[in-house]
């Protein structure tokens, strides 16, 4: 069932914008775009036609015959969902005959599926009320063997007894999600819905996106939370706090104040990023927000070997501030710093960097985006002038060729992946660059045209080889380049790229990919006519991460694939607010909108607004902070919503740095791995408990709306304000909208952003200013933001991390659909049913020579450390390469990753680690050893009794 406050229009809007058509519906003139269905036109005119098999996320199907209408001059009673409007059409939606026909259809449905008088509100129930039939005339249904309910999925049930086989679920799975998990089996009255080969949902191909549940007009497919909690009372529109797709949701709730309960999350059909779709994380995995592990009282301790002591907010804040000031007095102003989080809102991130710069008095602020997409910022800024993706997601519907590089959209960005798959099923071509056969390489009705299964660490070699083909085979768009790019840089780049050493043949030995594959891919991409690049952390998290981003921008420029719909260079951001946290000035060398701290004009505007002098020198990056901590010049740290002990590479190194801090302040929902080294713990608030905005991967600023009061008493931005005030630098915002007003005053690309405007438009893609008052879906339309595009040189420099006889395999890392990042949220939901541990994927050949079988425990060792996990033997991964995820602290894959990093930004090289894998017979001994190595005293935390202070 769609959201409680939603008016379903029955069929989607026509795909192509077309001229207006005027028709008459029940005597009233109505004007709609050509191609609109009669059903939709009637709904837009405020005249609902009863329907069962239609909903406006799915193509009209015309099977239930409930929506019949009369059209003057036409015989019979056409179905309004499958009939499109024509000029001058006269339509009647109500008549005695129509009422009789509809009652007849409904009578038949009710004879098979009698309504439970106490049952939930459904579309079927609404239709019964509209049509005015409460009982079937067919008498009691003949007794038959009841069909069992399928309760296997943790989030929804399937009750075949209630299923009217309208096939909305089947079509939702096919058209919207693109998984094709459901079919109608059997015929006539015997027909029924089956998942995969009539398996329980949990064991089928179903990815639990919930599209079928929402599409179902009866109680056959229903959220378990809705069954458990009952009908929601109202809905609040907000934004998902998981990945960078940034889906808009209606949070449907019951109760108010501290008693507010989320009944279910329903993706907004008018959501600009997701258009009514969602994934298993956003739709279902929000239970972490109320998990018993939440810490709701501030705590302090003198030493990390002491027990935590619950204290008042005043005491915790006072202690934190006095410690930071003590440290600064002893070791100097630059001995402390702060970390912003890509999971927090723009406003919270902005405040943390403001506090560091204005109250700490230095530029030692960095963000977790450092370890994922900092090369995107550097690479795109250097070439085209703006540190952001160039398109809106909807642009993909106009792409003829997609090149997916080092990204796994079906797992990492599932809702956008569904949009990609829709376009691929329409015939767009697909090139995949990835060491692993990601989901898109082969899925129902989709196959990559070319999969370049390159060796980890050779992206730049591969992209240079692709560029070589484009340049030497004359596939360049010379007019585009001549009018839009710097001629000198183009000339230099062209000479470098055309050199024989960059040919696919010469690079074959480096990348491991046959030259003719590379040539095919290059020709396909250059042929377009609209070719779009989508990339992820498989590009950035390398020693040449920034170079690879530049290489992607170069390829797009030289083929004219920037500046219109259907093309572009698009980073798929991992966390919800990676784009936003970078935009907000979280990097130590930049104010908001990527302006260097040394620029006196920019710095002056901040100094005037903030009323303090600001440093003109760059501060420390996260990894620099660790180094400075180890050499004794960095002693105190404030960390909001970030768990770098689990997420950052070379864990042993990080933990040694953490141990050397005199004051670590962690603000989070949970006592995470980093909090084990903390002296002050400040309870955080979940996305349900605060107001603010997130900016997704397409630069779209969307509202996060408070659904319930913060469980620990304060929203995160308020906690930062408390700390800042205790440090002697008070801030006086009454609401995050006032923080946004300040952001807009100080940030040219946000100059036109206000909460009022976001509320009015639904969302805004920055830049939003006088030149683009409603935002900018496509960037670089007439010229590049930097003026002329610059071809940066991208010579391939191999990483120093290589396989050796001791460490003969290369480990690369990624994530799975149902888990998210370090798993702090998703591990605390039923999503663990799909993925309850990190697995090491290994090719059958590599497994066999090591005597490893599927499911065996294996030890994974690198020069940095070792861990133990279970093997999954699979051909998805090439020989010589192994792959794992980093969602579980028990595995902590980052124990083995190294200190190597991107040359320009120090983004860690997570994607390339030389390792050895051995069969482990005594798993526990191994685990004990690795656990002991990273062991820290773990005093029991006193349980928090009182759930919610005022």
């Amino acid at each position: 069932m769609f959201a409680i406050d939603y008016e379903d229009l029955g069929t989607p809007a026509p795909v192509e914008e077309a001229g207006p058509v005027t028709v008459e519906i029940d005597g009233k003139p109505v004007t709609v775009p050509a191609g609109t269905s009669v059903m939709r036109a009637a709904a837009l005119a405020g005249t609902g036609v009863p329907k069962l098999c239609a909903t406006d996320t799915l193509k009209a199907f015309g099977s239930c015959r409930m929506c019949l209408v009369e059209i003057e001059g036409r015989k019979g009673y056409p179905a309004s969902c499958t009939t499109t409007v024509a000029p001058g059409m006269k339509i009647r939606t109500q008549s005695e005959k129509l009422a009789q026909l509809r009652r007849g259809v409904l009578d038949l449905y009710l004879s098979e599926h009698p309504l439970d008088p106490a049952g939930a509100r459904t579309e079927l129930r609404d239709v019964v009320e509209t049509v005015g039939l409460t009982q079937t005339s067919y008498g009691p249904r003949p007794a038959r063997e009841p069909m069992p309910r399928d309760e296997s999925n943790p989030y929804f049930t399937f009750d075949p007894e209630q299923c009217i086989v309208c096939s909305r679920c089947v079509r939702a799975c096919d058209e919207v999600q693109g998984t094709f998990a459901l079919t109608v089996q059997g015929r006539g009255l015997q027909s029924k819905i089956a998942a995969s080969q009539d398996d329980p949902f949990l064991e089928s191909e179903c990815v639990s996106c919930g599209a079928c549940v929402e599409a179902c007009p009866t109680t056959a497919l229903m959220e378990k939370s809705l069954i458990r909690l009952g009908q929601p009372e109202h809905a609040v529109t907000t934004t998902c706090a998981y990945c960078g797709v940034g889906c808009s949701f209606k949070a449907e709730v019951r109760g108010d104040g501290a008693a507010t309960e989320v009944v279910r999350m329903v993706p907004s059909r008018d959501g600009h990023a997701n258009h009514g779709h969602a994934c298993v994380k956003g739709r279902f995995a929000y239970g972490y927000a109320t998990h018993a592990d939440r810490v709701l009282k501030p705590m302090i301790r003198k030493s990390i070997r002491d027990e935590w002591r619950e204290v008042s907010w005043d005491e915790a804040i006072g202690y934190a501030a006095s410690e930071l000031r003590r440290i600064q007095a002893k070791y100097g102003r630059d001995s402390v710093g702060g970390i912003t989080s890509s999971r927090c809102t723009n406003e919270e991130t902005f405040l943390v960097q403001k506090m560091v710069r204005a109250a700490f008095g230095n530029n030692n602020v960095d963000t977790c985006a450092r370890v994922c997409h900092s090369p995107t910022g550097y690479g795109l800024k250097s070439t085209i002038g703006e540190s952001a993706g160039t398109q809106a997601f909807t642009s993909v519907a106009k792409a003829d060729v997609m090149m997916v590089v080092g990204a796994n959209p079906t797992d990492g960005h599932p809702v956008f992946a569904s949009q990609m798959k829709q376009r691929l099923r329409q015939g767009a071509k697909l090139i995949v660059l990835d060491p692993r056969a990601i989901g898109l390489v082969r899925s129902p009705h989709i196959a990559a045209d070319v999969h370049l299964q390159l060796k980890p660490g050779t992206n730049v070699a591969m992209l240079n080889a692709i560029a070589h083909v484009i340049v030497t085979e004359g596939l360049t768009q010379d007019d585009y380049v001549a009018s839009r790019c710097e001629p000198e840089s183009y000339q230099l780049w062209k000479e470098l790229i055309a050199a024989e050493r960059n040919s696919p043949e010469a690079m074959e030995a480096v990348t491991g990919v046959p030259a003719d594959f590379v040539r095919r891919a290059a020709r396909l991409y250059a042929a377009g006519p609209n070719s779009a690049i989508y990339y992820g952390l498989g590009v950035t998290e390398h020693s040449q991460g920034s170079t690879a981003v530049m290489a992607l921008a170069n390829i797009a420029m030289v083929t004219g694939n920037l500046g219109r719909e259907g093309v572009g260079v698009n980073p798929l951001r991992g966390q919800n607010n990676v784009q936003g946290s970078c935009d907000m000035g979280s990097f130590p060398h930049e104010f908001s909108a990527y302006r260097h701290v040394s620029d006196p004009v920019v710095r002056g505007t901040f100094e005037r607004e903030w009323g303090v002098g600001l440093q003109a020198e760059p501060g420390l990056r996260i990894s620099n902070m660790f180094e400075a901590a180890l050499d004794g010049t960095f002693r105190g740290m404030y960390v909001q919503g970030e768990d770098f002990v689990q997420s950052d590479p070379n864990t042993h190194h990080v933990t040694r740095a953490m141990e050397s801090l005199e004051c670590l302040i962690v603000q989070d929902l949970f006592l995470n791995e980093t909090a084990k080294f903390a002296h002050v713990f400040l309870p955080g608030s979940s996305f349900l408990e605060k107001d603010g905005t997130f900016t997704n991967a397409e630069r779209r600023i969307s509202r996060v709306r408070k659904i319930m009061p913060p469980k620990a008493g304060y929203e995160d931005w308020q906690v930062t304000m408390l700390l800042s005030a205790a440090l002697g630098y008070p801030m006086s915002y009454r609401h995050p909208s006032e923080i946004m007003e300040e952001i807009a005053r100080l940030t040219p690309t946000f100059a036109g952003v206000t909460y009022e405007k976001i509320d009015r438009l639904g969302s805004i893609q920055w830049p939003c200013n006088d030149a683009a008052p409603e935002g900018t879906p496509t960037m670089h339309v007439h010229q590049f933001v930097r003026g002329k595009g610059k071809f940066c040189l991208t010579e391939y420099v191999p990483t120093s991390e290589r396989s050796t006889s001791r460490f003969p395999l290369i480990l690369t890392t990624g994530r799975v659909l149902t888990q998210y990042n370090v798993g702090a949220q998703t591990r605390r939901t039923d999503n663990v049913i799909w993925h309850s541990e990190d697995l090491l994927e290994i090719h059958p050949h590599d497994a066999e020579v090591r005597g490893i079988s599927d499911g065996d425990w294996v030890g994974l060792t690198s020069r940095a450390g070792e861990t133990v996990l279970r093997a999954k033997v699979t051909e998805r991964i090439a020989p010589g390469v192994v792959y794992t995820t980093f969602h579980f602290p028990e595995t902590n894959a980052n124990v083995v990753t190294t200190e190597n990093s991107d040359w320009a930004t120090n983004c860690p090289e997570y994607k390339v680690t030389a390792v050895e894998v051995v069969l482990v017979n005594q798993k526990d001994a191994w685990r004990k050893r690795t656990a002991e190595e990273r062991a820290m005293p773990r005093p029991a935390r006193r349980r928090t009794r009182d759930p919610a202070p005022a």
């Binding site: 630059d334 470098l496 130590p588 760059p618 990056r621 620099n624 180094e627 990093s901 040359w903 320009a904």
Partner: protein, 80 residues
Amino acid sequence: MNIDLLVKMANEISAYFASEPDPEQAAKDVAAHLRRYWEPRMRRQIIAYYEERRGAGLSELALRGVGLLAAAETANTPPL
């Protein structure tokens, strides 16, 4: 800070700029990058290492880049 790490980082930065055909420009680019992105204590340390230990372990381009950086820091020229 760990000087080996700083040397490694400086060499990696230089390895990127090494493809610039004008060697003067390449050294300037390295110096500008260090000036723009390295926190002062890191710059001070690599300059001290360059001056005291003649930059042992730095690549040829990194040496020239750090040399220019040292000169710029002494002259206090702005990094932009």
